[in-house]
Symmetry: C2
Subunit: 146 residues, 2 copies
């Protein structure tokens, strides 16, 4: 397993999914998608809103919240509730994968979901990512329930 840096964000994929979900491709939404994809890290709605405003884009905070929720619904963003109560979002490809988050610069690369064996191998040294933390949780049925 190797880390695959995301290429140029494919906005068209996102716009297509929006249309498929009966959502409109509006100016504010395009501005949000562009800034969101450009940042390439987890951002809070407020952060994204500030970013847009400082780029002279007149937009409401509520619109950022609503758009991020829509993007999450169509699979173009992943949400990560933070400890402080805020929710951070990451622009990402519309497919199942994991993330490798750099704790220094915040950059996020996609980690394709192959097999657990591949995961183990990568930990042996192939992964060009110095792991310092991992978060792992299992969900399923315990012995009594299954």
């Amino acid at each position: 397993m190797t880390l695959r840096a995301r290429g140029r964000p494919e906005f068209d994929d996102v716009y297509r999914e929006l249309t498929r979900a009966s959502c409109r491709v509006t100016g504010p939404r395009k501005a949000i998608v562009t800034a969101f994809a450009h940042l390439r890290r987890y951002v809070t709605p407020k952060e994204l809103h500030d970013h847009l405003r400082s780029a002279k884009v007149r937009i409401g905070l509520a619109t950022v919240y609503r758009t991020l929720e829509v993007l999450r619904r169509i699979g173009a963003a992943s949400a990560a509730p933070q400890a402080h109560g805020e929710t951070a979002y990451l622009f990402c490809a519309i497919s199942h994968h994991h993330h490798a988050v750099c704790v220094r610069c915040g950059r996020v690369d996609d980690v394709p979901c192959r097999s657990v064996a591949g995961f183990a191998r990568s930990l042996a040294g192939n992964l060009r990512f110095r792991l310092t933390q991992h978060k792992l949780e299992f969900f399923g049925l315990c012995a009594r329930c299954s």
Copy 2:
């Protein structure tokens, strides 16, 4: 790797850690620890508060919040921010480990953190836990930063 059901909660370990952290072992804190450990699943502060009140324990919601934060700090609880904005807490042993959460009954068992190889083996069939979902995220330094 096998699932190890937590034995009788070791309250004394918790009280010892509290003392070590210059925190006092008070009546309200004992009540919270007892109820918290008894529940053996992720609970929100409000849920725990309601549980205590219905058990005729007079206690303030703010105290529950403050105590859960203290327990998290000393390692006796793990916090999991929820999608809705709430934070759920789980009473757990004071050592590094993972969790196996039953999606039906909510029961949580500790999964000792051995090696990744052990993790892979367990997935091959030793784990008496039917996995239906997993959540995995890496934190560290990317190639550029390290």
